[in-house]
């Protein structure tokens, strides 16, 4: 698969090709500017590739319409961002239950409470993001991305904005969850400790895969 922008004048990713197995965890590492974030965005269907194909299970997302990809993402893909991005005027609980509500699941609030509880936030349900610490915000954000029990979780430097204590905290929480719930994970990280927790490590250099082990 290739990814270019500005009408092919800038090649960001070239001849990228790999598969992710069911329940597999992968970390993507590489220098800043090498194209890691671009790759994650493409897998999540947030940008369009310029050549090649991307499959999610048996469906090819690379030739779907925006709305079709939305539908897949809504049910099967959870995304975690470096800067958390909680909806500022929603409480922690509302941020998490939003995903459940748009999928019209019953007991949305109950389920959201359960997951927040599991992430140690039972006393933070009704706080707004501005009233939470960075680590807490990221825990809410992860809770939001996993509450639908997605088969694939994408994370772009999930601990990049956190101190070391919180980094450890978050990584435990994320990897425990993935083990318990049998999800696949693709995670971009600078942090070697974090990268070592995954089964496979893909290194990207200047838009191509330089290592895949």
């Amino acid at each position: 698969m290739n990814y270019t922008i500005d009408n092919n004048s800038i090649n960001i990713l070239k001849n990228i090709s790999f598969e992710v197995d069911y329940k597999e965890t992968i970390s993507i590492v590489g220098e800043s500017g090498s194209g890691k974030t671009s790759l994650i965005m493409l897998i999540g269907g947030l940008e369009k590739i310029s050549a090649g194909n991307i499959f999610f299970k048996d469906s090819e997302i690379s030739n779907m319409t925006e709305d079709e990809i939305s539908e897949i993402r809504r049910k099967n893909i959870g995304i975690v961002f470096q800067s958390f991005y909680l909806i500022p005027n929603y409480t922690a609980l509302e941020n998490v239950s939003l995903s459940l509500e748009i999928n019209k699941l019953d007991n949305a609030t109950q389920k959201a409470k359960e997951i927040l509880d599991r992430f140690g936030l039972s006393n933070r349900f009704n706080n707004l993001p501005s009233q939470l610490s960075g680590g807490e915000q990221q825990r809410v954000a992860i809770a939001r991305s996993v509450v639908m029990k997605p088969e694939l979780i994408l994370a772009d430097e999930p601990t990049g904005n956190l101190d070391s204590e919180n980094t450890e905290n978050i990584s435990n929480l994320l990897f425990n969850y993935i083990k318990d719930e049998n999800a696949s994970l693709i995670m971009v990280t600078h942090d070697n400790n974090l990268a070592n927790l995954t089964k496979r490590k893909i290194t990207i250099k200047d838009g191509v895969i330089s290592e895949n082990q």
């Binding site: 947030l46 709305d67 991005y85 939003l98 019209k104």
Partner: protein, 841 residues
């Protein structure tokens, strides 16, 4: 979208709205104000019309009215009606009432109703003291006068007054008459008994008499059958006109209609100006929600559904706003009731109307959708991938062919909605066309200012440079300021110009052209004595005296015009009842002939008619058409030979129809006179009436002060309403400044770091304002001059002048308020704290 999706997104929308309505407060305020005005207009119009309809029988005074005009009814026929219904005879006539035992004695021109015991058939007469109404028909020569006469003539109960040659005892005061459908709106009135009337020698009153027979069916169920019987009785009697309740208040209804038409156009203007603000505020609202929307997209809500959430938020706000606006309009009804009940004697009550609420809602909905389409569509530009990069592009209005055509379609629906409700759709359409032309011009003016200033032609001080920078930057509020204030200003200036010109012309006509007095009902044999008496009291008095006879226009080319000319026709009054007609040898100097030729003296035995050109146009009459006039019960056919331009406002003697004197001189007639005294004090009304008891005197200044009073009230109401468009413009501007606030803070911070003083920054705001405002003044003045000149010269046919005072009042007034507002709104951005910006918050 499925129903349960909709309920889900409604839930989101509702939650979002509850939490962030303060960010769209300016949308709510401007919509609320403009929908409130629309609601108020609809509610008040409805209440008035309900009052008129519900009381149509009261206003007419019966289930039916047989109008015999100036002849007494045929007693045989009246007897026949009395067999199947209750009949009340009412005779109206205009005459003078004067005091005889006061110092000094005074007189008043009065419309007197002579009533029988059956009066009123419907409704109530309000009078004092108890029992005095009944006494009118028990004791001869008794009279009830209205409050105004009672006060002006300084009367007490049981005082003696003189009517014609007879002495009357004032036994009470009448406050309200039920049957005011006719002419009682502004004038003074009095009641007397039927028997008293028989003793007055009214033969000299001629054209001022009106005999009406009001009919009430005892058994209303058989109403239609009885109406037919009555029609049959009068089948061969075309001297009689049967009036129905539906038409009883045609004149008032027409005034209300026109007035509310005009006001609803003002309200829609306010709404369209509000629309500019809606688009702008909404864009900034969505910009603030940029990251939340990106998150929603990342979670898997598609763009269409997110847009639905925003449209639903607007919808919910609108439902709330419409209900509040409509509800608030009910509080205005008592105020209006107070305002008009003095003049009209109507009492209005607000009544709920689902249709009106619906109209208010639909109009609001159309405006919101039209102005929010390009804004809400900008949600498409937001990308979930921004969440990875932490950069959010600021959004722009997004126009697509589809959304533009949809907006245009909705705009067309909105315009047609207003045009179709109006009695003269062309006027509404012209109004809308001018509105959009102005809007376009102001838009391009703002573009032009920006373009011109970018050229950097001038070498200016630092404040001016900052100002120019502000005006020309891409997020400049100049277009919004210029459009919203420009439109409001244009409307306000136009109405101010129309109002001031109108008032000036009316005021001017009092001392200059207008005579001091009208004298009505001078008999043929009194003419010379009348002239002598006037000259004796003031040698330099300017006198105009013309013959006059009452004539009904009963047929145009052989057809009864009432069958095809409706009471909504501007010139309906010409055929409504008998008109006074006159004749002259030479063309009146202020009545130029527009078409046809003056009298053909070779045909002295043929009736020739000169017609008011406006009436000719309204009725579709051509030169050579045949008019049948009924004069003293005799029908005479004549030919229309020319059209004259008649200006009724000048208050000299004006007639819709003039006849050729060779023919008309043989008709028994009386005289009408206007007098302008050199020294008005030399004329004594009371002495005059001793000699001419049957002559009626109308003092023009009294009459005019009543008219100006009414005009003033109308002018105030209109000004208040049009000022609302400016107020909405100001809300739009201040919300635009707030929207721009972030940029302003940053900019002012940079200035601060660069070492500019607050004074220089404020100066730059003022210069920025002055540049925009001067161009607004320039263009809105041009538009207002054109529009008001058109209205004054073509619709009112008066002289138009540029009212420099009004111009300064309005522009300086609006300018000061706007500048104050801009400075106040900017003030909080003046002392930015360096700290949060450095931290990139």
């Amino acid at each position: 979208m499925k129903i349960n999706d909709l309920s889900l997104y409604s839930k989101f929308a509702f939650r979002d709205l509850i939490r962030s309505y303060s960010k769209i407060l300016s949308i709510i305020i401007t919509l609320l104000i403009s929908l409130f005005i629309l609601s108020a207009i609809l509610t008040i119009e409805d209440s008035l019309e309900n009052e008129l309809n519900e009381n149509s029988k009261v206003l007419l005074g019966g289930d039916l009215e047989i109008d015999y005009n100036n002849r007494e009814g045929d007693s045989n026929l009246i007897k026949q009606i009395e067999n199947i219904s209750t009949v009340s005879q009412v005779v109206e006539f205009s005459t003078m009432i004067s005091t005889i035992e006061k110092k000094p004695n005074k007189t008043s021109f009065t419309r007197i109703k002579a009533i029988d015991q059956n009066y009123p058939l419907y409704g109530d007469v309000i009078f004092e003291p108890v029992g005095s109404l009944k006494k009118l028909n028990e004791i001869d020569n008794t009279i009830l006068v209205n409050e105004n006469i009672f006060k002006n003539l300084n009367l007490k109960i049981n005082d003696i007054v003189k009517v014609q040659n007879k002495k009357f005892k004032v036994i009470g005061v009448v406050k309200v008459l039920p049957d005011i459908g006719g002419a009682f709106v502004f004038g003074d009135f009095a009641l007397t008994g039927k028997k008293t009337l028989d003793k007055l020698e009214l033969n000299t009153l001629g054209s001022f008499l009106n005999y009406e027979y009001k009919i009430k069916f005892d058994d209303y169920k058989n109403k239609d059958k009885k109406i037919n019987e009555i029609k049959k009785i009068f089948k061969n009697n075309d001297k009689v006109k049967i009036q129905y309740p539906e038409n009883s208040a045609g004149g008032i209804k027409r005034i209300i209609d026109n007035f509310s038409q005009f006001l609803s156009l003002v309200s829609i203007s306010a709404m369209l100006i509000a629309g500019i603000g809606i688009a702008n505020t909404l864009l900034s609202f969505i910009n603030q929600k940029n990251s939340s929307i990106a998150v929603q997209k990342a979670i898997g809500i598609n763009s269409g559904n997110i847009k639905t959430i925003y449209y639903l938020q607007l919808l919910f706000s609108l439902i709330f706003i419409s209900l509040v606006a409509y509800g608030l309009s009910f509080f205005l009804v008592p105020v209006v009731d107070k305002y008009i009940s003095d003049g009209l004697g109507l009492n209005i009550e607000a009544s709920f109307s689902l249709t009106n609420l619906f109209i208010v809602f639909v109009v609001g909905l159309l405006v919101i959708i039209i102005f929010s389409i390009p804004t809400v569509n900008s949600i498409d530009q937001i990308k979930a991938s921004s969440l990875f990069r932490n950069v959010f592009q600021s959004l722009q209005f997004k126009y697509s062919k589809l959304s533009i055509s949809l907006s245009l379609l909705l705009l067309t629906i909105l315009v047609s909605l207003f045009a179709s409700r109006s009695s003269i759709p062309t006027y509404s359409l012209i109004y809308f066309a001018s509105f959009f032309i102005c809007l376009a011009v102001f838009f391009y003016v703002s573009r032009f200012i920006i373009l011109l200033l970018r050229k950097n032609l001038l070498n200016l001080g630092i404040s001016s440079k900052i100002a120019i920078k502000n005006i020309t930057q891409s997020k400049s509020i100049t277009p919004i300021t210029v459009m919203s204030l420009g439109l409001g200003m244009t409307l306000l200036l136009t109405l101010a110009f129309v109002g001031s010109n109108f008032k000036r012309e009316i005021a001017k006509s009092i001392p200059e052209i207008a005579p001091d007095y009208f004298f009505l009902g001078i008999q043929n044999n009194q003419k010379n004595l009348f002239k002598k008496i006037i000259i004796d009291s003031d040698k330099e008095a300017v006198m105009e005296i013309v013959p006059m006879v009452s004539a009904g226009l009963v047929k145009i080319n052989g057809i009864d015009p009432n069958t095809y000319i409706s009471d909504s026709n501007d010139s309906y009054w010409v055929i409504m009842n008998d008109r006074r007609v006159s004749w002259v040898n030479t063309i009146p100097k202020d009545n130029p002939i527009l078409e046809g030729s003056w009298w053909d003296t070779s045909k002295p035995n043929k009736l020739q008619i000169s017609l008011d050109s406006k009436v000719a146009k309204d009725f579709g009459v051509n030169i050579g058409d045949k008019f049948t006039l009924r004069i003293y019960g005799r029908e005479i056919e004549g030919e229309v030979v020319n059209f004259r331009l008649v200006n009724y406002q000048d208050l000299s003697i004006n007639f819709a129809m003039l006849l050729n004197p060779q023919f008309a001189e043989n008709i028994p007639h009386e005289y009408l006179s206007t007098i302008k005294f050199k020294n008005i004090k030399s004329f004594n009304e009371v002495n005059f009436l001793d000699k001419f008891p049957s002559v009626s005197i109308i003092k023009i200044s009294d009459y005019l002060s009543k008219v100006t009073d009414v005009l003033n009230k109308v002018f105030i109401a209109v000004s208040i309403l049009s000022a609302v468009t400016v107020i909405i413009g100001l809300v739009v501007i201040s919300s635009a400044i707030i929207v721009q606030g972030k940029i302003k803070i940053f900019q002012n911070l940079v200035f601060k770091i660069l070492g500019f003083s607050k004074k220089e920054i404020i100066m730059s705001s003022i210069i920025e304002f002055i540049i925009s405002f001067l161009s607004i003044i320039f263009f809105s003045t041009i538009f207002a001059v054109l529009a008001s000149k058109f209205i004054i010269e073509n619709i009112f046919q008066l002289k138009w002048l540029f009212e420099i005072n009004i111009f300064f009042y309005v522009t300086i007034g609006v300018g000061v308020v706007t500048l104050a507002l801009i400075i106040i709104t900017n003030f909080r951005y003046l002392s930015p704290k360096v700290y949060p910006l450095v931290r990139n918050e």
